[in-house]
Each structure stands twice: as C-alpha cells, then as structure tokens.
Amino acid sequence: MRKRLVAPGASHAVMIVVVLMTLFPMLYAVLLATQVPEQYYQFPPRFLPGSSLLDNARYVWNDIHMGRLLLNTTIISLAVAIGKIFLSILAGFAFVYFDFPGKGWVFILILLTHMLPVPVRIVPTFELLDQMGWVDTYAGLTVPFLASATGTLLFRQLYQTIPPSLADAARIDGAGPMRFLWSIVMPLSRTNIAALFLVEFIYMWNQYLWPLIIANSDATRVVQIGLKQLVATDAAVDWHYVMAGTVISTLPPLIVLVLLQRSLLEGMSLYEEKS
C-alpha cells in the first residue's frame, strides 16, 4: 500500500468538491426548472428549490408537444441502438469465425465509416433520401446510422478471445455456425451488448444535424430540435420552461447511463487489458 499524500478525509472533501463542480451546471438546470422568474432573477442568488417543477414541466409538455418528441426520439434511439448491435454482432462473428475472399477489403470498408461523419456526405445523402421518399420518416432517421465500425471492432475483439475449444466442441457436436452464435457466443456477448447499447442509444438520442434536415414535421421531429422552439423567440427567454424541457429530455439517456454504466466500464477494462 502506498503512502497517502493527504488524509483520506481530505481526499473525500476534495473529491466531493470536484464532483459538485463537474455536475454543477446540471444541478443548476434542475434548480431553475423548479423556480419561477421572480426567484431566479433575485440578487444575490439563493439556491433553494422552488415548488413550480410540475407547473413548468406541464407547460413545456403541452407547449412543444413533448410527448410526441420523446416518443419519436425513443423510437429512433432504440431502433438504431438495437440495429447496430445486431449488425455488428453478425459482422464481428463473420470476421472471426470464417475465412473468405475479400475479408480484408470488407473490414476496411466498415472501418471507413469512421472517416465519414454526416457533414462530409450530407448533401448527396439528403438527395438520396429525398429520392427514396424517406424525408420525414423514421427510416430516414435511422437506416443511414445502422453501420457501426465501433460495434464491429468491439465484437470482433471479444470473439477473438473466446477459447477455440468452444467452437471445436460445437462442430464435433454437429452444431452449425448460427446455432453456435445463438447459444454460445450471444450469452458471452452480454456485457458488450449492454455497453454498446448505452453508447449508441445516447449517441442517437443526442443527434441534431441529421434530424434537423431530414425530419422537420411534427410527426417525426426529435426532442433536441423541439427544444429550440423554446428559445427561438425575440422576447426574453423563459429559463424555467427551457430548463424544465432540458431536464425532461435528458432523463432518458441519463437513466440508460446509470443503469448500464457498469457494463461500459467492464467493457472498457476488457479493452484496456489488450492494449
């Protein structure tokens, strides 16, 4: 055990200050969501929660149709997270358990997605989706996101560490590759699936540019874009409403993060062991 630089009590105090400073903007947003303008305009500021949280939440919920915005965002985030997991498990499995001509090229092709973020291909992608009739549809919001270099690499790396004896045993028992994938490989992938779900769900929930151009009708608009209506006025901003909207729209990804962060950290240490 190494000597401590400072007493553990002091370490805790320092750490609590660090955590509070890091999270302060979030706490301040929550605080404002509970107040009315008379409370947050007063000086010097007081950090006492108000009692208007429900009123503020109800107001924004009706004002910008938050129910619909949240439903749309939930649908596309679930679809993309699950779709990406599915596609990258299949791809990772193919790379590790088969030999086939063109393997290296296909691998590079999938890695290329990393070099091609939305802005570098935005005009032609939009024109393509326009021709396909996918503007203002869930398909237009989700399908272009389904390929995942991250996921493919993640599962490929995991499958390389599965003992070969398992696949040998499966073959001797006469189990085909899909059977092996389903009953042996999938259960071993659980932590990585959870970690990837966390990353991709939050990634999709927080998309802005693509939904802005592809989905600007009430039927398909996502919550990030919907919030803009609260600040797009020339009048003074109603911060209590904006923050109520902010808090509501951050809860789903935050809940996913809290529930699954353990898997993410486990997945990370797996990654760290290999480097």
Binding site: V19, Y41, F43, V120, L146, L209
Partner: protein, 293 residues
C-alpha cells in the same frame, strides 16, 4: 487463432447488411460529395454546370469561410486542451483507491449523457448576462461585464465552455481506464527511490498515459469539428455577427439555407480531408483498437 467454420456463403450473408448500409449511405454519398464539389448547381437542383476547382478557389477567397476556419480553430483549441487538462486532473484525483471513490467516479461520467445542444442551453443559462452565475463570476474576476450575446470573444468562449463541459464525462472515463492500466510496480519503485508525486506524474504517469491522451486528442478534435453544430444552432445561430460560425454551421447555411449545394460539397470535401488525415494518423499510431464514439 479461432476455429473457422467451413462455409462459403454464410460470411457474406452475415456481412451483407453492414456492407449495404456503408456503401449506400456512407461511401457512395462521400464520393458524390467529391463529384458535386466540382459543379455549380442551380438552387432548384435542376441544372449542374461543371466548374472544376472554382468552388474551392471561391471558398478561400470567401471572408466568411476564412472566418469559420479561425473560429473553428480557436474553438477546437480550447475544447481539446482545456478539456484534456481538466479531465486528466479530475481523473487523477478520482483514481485513488479509497472507499466510496467508485461512487464518485460513476457521478463524474454523467455529462456524457448530455447532448451538445442541451449543454449549450445550460451554459447559456450559466452565462446569462443578467443573472447567470458564471457570468457574474467572470465579471467579478475580470472586471469586464460578460455578455455572450453582444461580444464576439465572449460568444466563442461560451460555446467552447459548453462543448468542453459536455465532453468531460467521456474524457474522464478514458483517462480513468488509462490510469487503471498503468503498471503499479513502476510507480512503487519510483516512490521507493524518493520521487515526489509531481515528479512521478510528469516522469512516469504522463508518458505512459500518452496512448490514451493521443486517442482523446483525436476524438476531441473530431468532436470539436463536427459535434458543435447543435450547440451553435440552438443558442447563437453563428452570431453575434459571425463570431460562432463554425465550419459545420457554415456548411449547413450554404447547403441547406442558401441551397448552394456545390459550394457546400466543396466544404464537405475539405472536412473529409481533415478527418482522413486525423484518422490515418490514429490508425498508424494506435492500430485498430476498439474505441467508443
């Protein structure tokens, strides 16, 4: 080496969905971006005239584009350096093996759940000229009254602060993972030899952590170049003047508001060159290790 299943068709079927999406929505549109950058397209999209390099020469003569380069440069510089410095500091403090610290570490990851646009709204509140706490603090510290709605420099600082804060969770996770992976024997040996904490950090921890730092440098640069869009769109709309007109925001204005698609595609191509350079550097240096978005 894994056992291989002897099957000719199956691997192609397994890869088909991914390959299809990559080709149709990534590779082909990227190639078309390059093509389109050599054309001038009418606003209705019905006529295309080949103009060669003209879009590019116009770009580098366009004061708005040059401004966007400068704005994005400063923005990235702050996001990358302030972000990495603060995250590393926090990660080092949080990495102590003490009871209860695992819980603190989970809390530090929370900003990861926040979107850049929401980070923008929260920091617009923090820096609200009339009552925002952070603007009061800045005004008290500097004596200059802080107003990101009217001052160009303040606006740039505002979007950089919001973007940096949003990325803290991500950076801290990776620094924590990197710190956990350091060989303890080396650190203990240095301590036995009488090296103080400052010296141990700069001589041992920091150099050994360089793969993580380099990875985060690349990811934060990409983030600053591409993910600042929502933050700007929802708060400043590029203003005041063009003070927060990031490259991606200008691209959007030209392509989707000005409907000048050839000109916008030329901007896409320049961004593509920049990403290609960065990711090539990364693959050279770090190999094809897994990284999260």
């Amino acid at each position: 080496m894994q056992t291989r299943f002897p099957n000719r068709l199956l691997p192609y079927l397994l890869l088909a969905p991914s390959v299809l999406v990559v080709l149709v929505f990534f590779v082909i549109p990227a190639v078309q971006s390059i093509q389109l950058s050599l054309y001038r397209v009418s606003a209705l999209g019905d006529r295309r005239i080949f103009v060669g390099w003209q879009n590019f020469t116009r770009l580098f003569a366009d004061p708005d584009y040059l401004n966007s380069i400068v704005v994005t440069g400063w923005f990235s510089l702050i996001v990358v350096f302030a972000g990495l410095a603060v995250s590393l500091l926090v990660a080092v403090v949080a990495n102590q093996r003490l009871r209860g610290f695992a819980f603190y570490r989970t809390l530090l990851i929370w900003p990861y759940a926040i979107s850049p646009s929401i980070a923008g709204l929260i920091w617009a509140l923090m820096l609200e000229p009339s009552f925002g706490l952070a603007s009061h603090l800045l005004t008290d510290l500097t004596g200059i009254s802080f107003n990101f709605r009217t001052s160009a420099n303040h606006a740039l600082l505002f979007i950089a602060l919001a973007a940096t804060w949003k990325m803290l969770g991500y950076n801290i996770i990776f620094f924590l993972a990197g710190l956990r992976g350091l060989p303890t024997e080396l650190l203990e040996a240095a301590e036995v030899d009488g090296a103080g904490p400052w010296r141990r950090f700069w001589r041992i921890v920091f150099p050994l952590l360089s793969p993580t730092t380099f990875f985060l440098f690349v990811m934060n640069t990409l983030y600053a170049f591409f993910e600042g869009f929502g933050l700007v769109h929802i708060t400043t709309s590029g203003g005041p003047g063009r003070a927060t007109d990031l490259l991606v925001f200008k691209l959007y204005r030209d392509g989707f508001i000005g409907l000048n698609t050839g000109y916008a595609s030329a901007q896409s191509v320049l961004l593509l060159i920049m990403v290609a350079a960065l990711t090539t550097l990364q693959f050279r240096y770090a190999g094809s290790k897994v990284f999260y978005q």
